[in-house]
């Protein structure tokens, strides 16, 4: 498909990338392109300038701190996360990434792109919300860090402004996590997904049922279903599932993720 005409720049520092973004309000960051190029084909968005982040070494790599904190560059691909010895400190990361689409998409798609795209059916927004990730956003005025629970603002909308970049994903130590989804075919698009993490209490984030992941906190897996029911979800209806069925799946999958998190 022939895309609409677009300019392309490949900055070599974060500062230069921020300047590129600020220079044109039609400028957009290009990470793995596995959402953005399709969006451009569909003309759902037609950026004037693509700012390719692939030359920015500062946005790559995975570091494991002595306290078990993981610091992940947003340009890290799913395949890199799956293969990383450091990322195994939080095994759920590689586990969930291995369920995204297929080899080719996992070789290009990045953790930062997945979060910034904030497609309600994506795998990583609920996961980041459940495990308590912190997201560092950089703009001309400096850096700020927001918890994942405040990062997702609406369908395809996040706390990252047009002149800003997501520059780091920080994940605290922890191992007691779970993820469950009903998908369109093995490793396909999620109809509903849920991520859970046990850290004193159980924190559960449900995806595909609202514009942003729905957060629920409970004491034990036995009370998850009641808590999801109390959240009175009104999930979207589409050709794959009715709203009622999605609401039912939300209960079942939240409980499954919770039981995995507590090791049941």
């Amino acid at each position: 498909m022939l895309l609409r005409e677009v300019e392309y720049v490949k900055p070599s520092s974060i500062a230069e990338a921020l300047t590129n973004l600020a220079a044109n309000d039609g400028a957009r960051a290009l990470a793995g392109g596995q959402t953005l190029i399709n969006v451009m084909k569909a003309r759902a968005a037609s950026p004037d300038v693509l700012v390719d982040l692939s030359g920015l070494e500062e946005l790559k790599g995975i570091e494991l701190g002595s306290d078990g904190t993981l610091s992940i560059g947003p340009m890290t691909t799913y395949t890199e996360l799956m293969d990383s010895a450091e990322a195994r400190a939080r095994p759920i990361l590689g586990e969930v990434c291995s369920k995204i689409a297929d080899v080719q998409v996992r070789n290009r798609g990045t953790i930062g792109g997945n979060l910034c795209a904030n497609d309600p059916t994506n795998h990583l927004p609920p996961l980041m919300a459940a495990i308590g990730a912190e997201l560092t956003i950089t703009g001309a005025g400096g850096e700020r860090t927001v918890p994942a629970s405040d990062f997702f603002l609406g369908v395809y909308m996040t706390a990252v402004g047009q002149t800003e970049l997501l520059t780091r994903i920080t994940i605290p130590a922890g191992k007691h996590d779970g993820f469950a989804a009903v998908t369109l075919g093995v490793d396909g698009t999620c109809i509903v997904n849920a991520a859970a993490s046990m850290n004193g209490s159980l924190r559960i984030a449900i995806g595909c049922v609202d514009a942003v992941p729905v957060l629920i906190e409970v004491e034990s897996p036995d009370t998850v279903r009641a808590a999801v029911r109390a959240a009175a979800l009104h999930p979207p209806d589409d050709v794959h599932a009715s709203s009622e069925y999605r609401a039912h799946l939300a209960e079942v999958l939240a409980e499954r993720a919770a039981r995995q998190a507590v090791g049941e």
Partner: protein, 150 residues
């Protein structure tokens, strides 16, 4: 924008528009029509090529993103008339009918066998997950790949 892309060992220098997808660069600009366009949405894998050692869908990459890179396409597999063991196995196992998906299948399986010469059945299936075939029912494709796994 001027780009230099090494495709199957030959450097191609071209002036391309930023909006051009890598698949169109391959097919239209340098006349390598082995890689196919099926869905143009990143779903079918017919356009799969190996970019700097990693398998990608070339309808999901811009040509300018491949500037300075090495691309391998299906045309680069055989040595003259001499097919690779994998290509021969596709023939022997009747792993293609119309052949539309075959270039992508071959690139995915080539990429798998390079990094993992002894894949398990499950690993072969996972490696071909991004490639859709509307003819064979997949079984013969799986058998062909398995027959050249060590």
């Amino acid at each position: 924008m001027n780009v230099a892309v090494t495709v199957n060992g030959t450097v191609y220098e071209r002036d391309v528009e930023a909006r051009k997808l890598l698949i169109h660069f391959l097919r239209d600009d340098i006349d390598l029509t082995g890689s196919h366009i099926g869905c143009d949405t990143g779903n079918c894998g017919a356009c799969s090529v190996i970019l700097d050692g990693t398998l990608v869908k070339s309808c999901m990459v811009l040509a300018v993103q491949a500037n300075g890179s090495k691309v391998e396409t299906v045309e680069g597999l055989a040595d003259g008339e001499q097919l690779t063991a994998l290509q021969q196995a596709f023939t022997d196992h009747h792993a293609l009918q119309c052949g539309y998906c075959t270039p992508g299948m071959l690139m995915s399986a080539t990429s798998l066998l390079r990094s993992n010469p002894s894949p398990s059945d499950e690993e072969i299936r996972k490696a071909l997950q991004g490639n859709i075939c509307r003819c064979t029912g997949y079984w013969n494709i799986f058998e062909a790949v398995k027959s050249v796994a060590r």
